[in-house]
Amino acid sequence: MKSVGRILSYSAILAICFLFGFSWQDIQQGKAPSTHAIGALFGVRSGSAATPEEEFQHAYYEILTDYVKPVDKADLKYAGMEGLMASLGDPHTMFMRPKLAEAFNDETRANFGGVGARLGTDPMGAKVVVVFEEGPAYAAGIRAGNIVTAVEGKSVAGRDIDTIVPLIKGKEGTVVHLLVIQAGKEKPVPIAVKRARIIAPTVDTKYLAESQIGYMSIASFSEPTAQQFDHELKKLEAHPLKGLVIDLRENPGGLLETAVDMLSRFFENKLVVKMKFRDHPDESATTYPGVLHDFNYPIAVLMNEDSASAAEIFAGCLHDYGRAKLVGTHSYGKASVQNVFPLIDKSSAKITIAKYFLPVTPFFGRKADPYGAYVSGGLEPDLKVELSTSSDVVFGDPKTDNQLQAAIHLLNPPTPVVAKRQ
């Protein structure tokens, strides 16, 4: 019995010696013995490390050294940074790799030029919907109804409009070569257009005589938009009006001041948005007195998932103060302000620094899942109408645009057929 006890205690001493040796480098550095290292001794594989930073590094090196295929070091690092920023669940807070950051920079600095035309969907390419008379496309002979079927010698037939436009846009002063189908010409005509800085008219109106409805489409909220709004409104009000449809579909927003300016036509001294920051006091924007306009007819606002930012603030305020009904599908949900922080390696971090709050509507910021897909957010329409999937829809055309039709019916319901009394 005595010898068994001795063997046991001796083994215990040996085990302690082993652990002492095992942990020697920790003891030398004045640290507690590493449990991860002891875990590894017993075959437990664990990605854990003392700090989140080490946890990240550990995974980074593991993928770099152990993955079955070679992995580009910089790509992996950037993918990690994208994931880091995406983990907040805010689609506007994002990491931009050097290339993307550069493109973003170009775009915001607005040294991008165009040809001065608005394009629409067409199976043969892109249909010219509007040509601005001051623009280079007009000067080169392009007219509304023409179809751009090739750009720089490459066919664009069958392609989505969103992918054609970037091909046509480019640096101001450069030339783009288009192949254009024009009525009455047997073959598509090659036309070269010099890109220029385009100051696009942002407000466009049409009087729909049949329903006595004014249709006003606002493409964006830029500097001259409020003035153009007044000017175009005057034109519409020259006709008898049973209602006004303001089309904000595809309107990506723009300047908050412009939206405030235009809302001041509707109500005075009212809150438009409150901006909440993290570390400094709230800021708010209110309408100002003196430019009130008498809208003595009902108003409907058309919107879709591409209506964002200032467009949502404009629509949301009209809705919150009971001045308009929203028609269409939910808007984008851009209820925040971002700042872009350049980083040392020419990447940048775009970070949401403030949130917008409307007077009544609760916070409408877009939420996305980790795959980037829409989860919730945006303004909800009062009347939900999906755009017809038929490919011949022309925005603003009461014959084919079913969302516009719904808005017209809302403002001016067709008179019910009542049996005539004699």
Partner: protein
């Protein structure tokens, strides 16, 4: 006890203590190498992979730290959960591999995965794999990028070739089995939500080309375009679809399956189900690869001259358990090994002691024999110790590391691919043993 004897004993004691201390220090070095110490190996890797000279090289760890700090300082809401940032970054890195076998899983997904490895299934009681057409790992490595002019809908499915969600095993008697779901079925839709895959897009691309060549009428192209649009609106990504079928113990799902020769609609009520564990019935053995299997296998083959091992519905086995089973079953020797697409030498699969008088072994395999079960079948048959009966195996011989993160989430990482014969021939991933 004499004086000399006493001193010899104590000297031995002291010497062995010193030896053990040194042994401990060496074991620690080994352990640390295995852990890949972030800071030390970091610098050496930096030097090894020193990339293009023109970029500013900020080490990943510093980058992570700086960016976390920036977010904490600037983001509109307080960011206090550093752990979440780290896990997000890891998710980003694992996803960037675009490898259906290397997957990041959140806490609930990871737990369901670990449970299934122990045979405890939930959901509809089936295991799934993401199958990328007929493309192997090499075609992927060649990096076929989607065309840069892809539309939004196309981008959704062409960022890479979106895999299809395919049944690779079915728990006998489980909900899927009762609904007659079969191995090889792929998921077309769940509760009316189309599961995204690239097939439709490819069809559209083809129609587009043929339209430009004036062979397809516009109306046909538009029908396809609208089909994609309406489907994409409420589509499910394959991984999300997998969650719906793999997780949860209650509720019903209506699943439309693409089945050999047509579509089938099933309504399945989710419930817990269990894959049968080790079973020995006479000379017939059911062999899941879990830590207990080798011991049970040893008992089951004792004094038997011939055994039949059923390796069907065996997809989630554990590599070290499989190796122990090989030790029990076949003589010592080298049985192929693990290779990578990196410039390193393969790691042989070695049976150290082995069974010097193996029984005659028959292995029953089919498409549901995958992962380590497939490696086992190929290893055992490569030297003629086992004959394969049944049909072709599933074609998945990826060796995956399973890493658990402190918050309960985790990921798998393919570290190598098993090959029954190590030689100069090219590595082919798909297509199993026959």
């Amino acid at each position: 006890m004499s004086y000399t004897k006493k001193s010899i004993v104590s000297a031995t004691g002291v010497i062995s203590a010193i030896v053990v201390v040194i042994g401990g220090m060496m074991a620690r070095q080994e352990a640390d190498l295995g852990l890949v110490h972030p800071t030390t190996s970091g610098t050496s890797i930096d030097r090894l992979l020193a990339s293009r000279s023109d970029d500013v090289n900020v080490p990943a760890g510093d980058y992570f730290y700086e960016l976390s700090q920036k977010l904490k300082k600037e983001y509109v809401e307080a960011v206090s959960d550093d752990q979440k940032l780290a896990v997000g970054a890891i998710r980003g890195m694992v996803s960037s591999l675009q490898d259906p076998q290397s997957l990041f899983m959140d806490k609930a997904q990871f737990q369901a995965f670990l449970n299934a490895r122990e045979g405890k299934f939930e959901g509809i009681g089936a295991d799934f794999d993401l199958v990328i057409g007929t493309k192997g790992i090499q075609a992927e490595a060649a990096g076929e990028a989607p065309p840069s002019d892809a539309t939004a809908e196309e981008a959704l499915v062409m960022i890479r070739d979106i895999p299809r969600l395919q049944v690779v095993s079915v728990v006998p008697g489980g909900p899927a089995d009762k609904a007659k779901v079969q191995v090889g079925d792929t998921v077309y839709s769940i509760d009316g939500h189309w599961v995204v895959n690239s097939d439709l897009i490819k069809k559209f691309r083809a129609a587009q080309k043929s339209f430009i060549a004036k062979k397809t009428p516009l109306s046909e192209l538009n029908i396809l375009r609208n089909e994609i649009r309406s489907k994409a609106e409420h589509a499910l990504m394959p991984l999300k679809a997998k969650d719906l079928l793999f997780m949860g113990k209650s509720g019903a799902v209506t699943v439309v399956w693409d089945h050999a020769g047509g579509q089938r609609t099933t309504k399945i009520v989710k419930a817990a189900s269990a894959m049968p564990g080790f079973e020995a019935n006479g000379s017939r053995i059911l062999l899941p690869f879990t830590p207990a299997s080798a011991g049970l296998l040893k008992q089951a083959i004792a004094r038997k001259s011939a055994v039949t091992i059923d390796l069907r519905n065996n997809t989630l086995g554990d590599l070290s358990s499989m190796r122990q089973c090989l030790e029990v079953l076949v003589p010592k020797g080298q049985y192929g090994g693990f290779t990578t697409f990196r410039h390193d030498s393969p790691t042989p699969l070695v049976v150290h002691n082995g069974n010097s008088s193996p029984p005659k072994i028959t292995l029953i395999t089919d498409k549901s024999t995958r992962g380590v079960a497939e490696m086992f079948a190929m290893a055992a048959s490569s030297k003629g110790y086992a004959t394969l009966s049944g049909s072709e195996t599933g074609g998945d011989r990826d060796n995956r590391a399973i890493v658990k993160l402190p918050d309960g989430s985790g990921y798998t990482l393919v570290t190598s691919v098993y090959r029954p014969i190590l030689g100069g021939q090219k590595l082919v991933k798909k297509g199993g043993a026959k």
